[in-house]
Symmetry: D2
């Protein structure tokens, strides 16, 4: 039996990974976390990761999520869309699966503070993504990570899926 | 155009990841590192990772490697086989691709010392895998990580592929 | 000129490190983060870290904070007290410095959820510390990490120091 | 009773940390690993770590090693000297302790390959340190990490201490 797929789309530092790990911990169903960051970790260190140098990586991710679901795993995806292009690739590759699209939202000034505090992300990255990543994307659910704790955000997804 | 695939099979602590990163650094061709450990990282923390709880994970990995190669990426795979079962899954899923199978070898007493020094692996894990993982597997190349440095091991794979 | 010292005492998973990194990012003064976890990382992997096997480690930490402050660095300390014993060691070693003691608080059921989501802490650790670590400790400030975001918590410390 | 101190001085990527962890694993005596990298991790992410921005950090490290030894811990130090200045600070602060100074050596072209493979160090860092860090330093022991495995290097230190 094929698995279900939840997709979290939000800027860098919007709290997607923390939310996904909280969801895995609180859900009674078993979900695998498929993160775009894990795909960027695959690249040789001598070549900067990113869609510029690896334009097919998000398509490969979509096909890998299909592979995970096809072999019976539920999947929660942690990704930053290239707007409508990624939306089309994902919905196209994952047609036939139960797919839930979640917008992970956070005000820009909070994103900037988180970016400075975590130290492993380029300053300005969240801002550069803030405008474009949601363009042309239809969501099932929107979650605000400023006014909800990770625990509360995870519960909102669980409630939606009931 | 489809990518090529190199598969490194060896026990825990045999030096596969260090070898794969050295290969990526020294190779003029771009290769992505697809590691079994990254698949185990996908699982919820509350469920112990491993083939017992996730019996289809290595098949999902094989299909994901196919997805990466199909979208034009060369891939170096860092994996511990469940012997002939994984060998069959990989060769079956990746038929039609140029596939190079590398045995990553290291004496057991050296494995035990490395295991103790790295601290992030269960003591005895390498020993438990040592007998079974190579059963029924046909290799193109065998590399010994005790008598060769990672730099030298990577060069041996590069020379083989020429 | 000697540095100032802020001490964060709270259970595992109460959010001390995230708060300390947010404080470093938002403060106009330069602070070094001295974390108990970094001291446990010093131990050989073959010996379980903790006060049982290393009973003098928190005293060594207190003396190291003194060494950092004496060489001109402000320090924010991220630690789990052994109750009054650690309180006495710290206040004794750091007498003569400007010392601010902060209680990092979080309800137990939230701690338990965070513990499960992060995956790198033993389940039950926060609960085991919850009762004892604040015994006999006099605080300058108490901060609740459930009702305040890390950004807000950091601002509260900055406001207190003004 | 005061602890003994071993100091490993070598360039970035010369293999100091791997050697220190192997030593901890193989030694029958308990040693704590005090690494310069852990001190750089203390700094706010918004300020580049290094001796330029934190000129007293290696002196603070020397005093912290003294604090660890004074509280009964043996210590193995993993550090990159600012040549004779660090040598003087360490020997001055640690006078009265049993101190063993180890030169960790590796040819420059191997360092460059390792640097590229590990991906978490600036390219050229090892080269920039190669000339200067050993100036004016008197060693008890020199170890070559190209011709010896980490296991063998650790054994050489153990043999020296007997």
């Amino acid at each position: 039996m094929k698995g279900n797929v939840i997709v979290l789309n939000g800027t860098s530092s919007s709290g997607k990974t923390t939310l996904a790990r909280a969801f895995q911990a609180q859900s009674t169903e078993v979900y695998l976390l498929c993160a775009l960051d894990a795909f960027w970790d695959m690249t040789p260190y001598k070549i900067p990761a990113g869609s510029k140098n690896f334009p097919n990586m998000k398509l490969a991710l979509a096909k890998s999520v299909q592979a995970l679901a096809e072999t019976g795993h539920n999947v929660i995806v942690d990704i930053v869309f290239c707007g409508e292009k990624t939306y089309r690739e994902l919905t196209n590759e994952l047609s036939g699966l139960k797919l839930t699209l979640v917008k992970v939202d956070c005000p820009l000034d909070e994103l900037t503070k988180r970016e400075a505090a975590r130290g492993d992300r380029a300053i300005g990255l969240a801002k550069s993504q803030h405008e474009s990543i949601h363009q042309g994307v239809l969501y099932d659910l929107t979650i605000d990570t400023l006014i909800n704790s990770p625990t509360q955000c995870a519960q909102k997804i669980i409630n939606y899926l009931l």
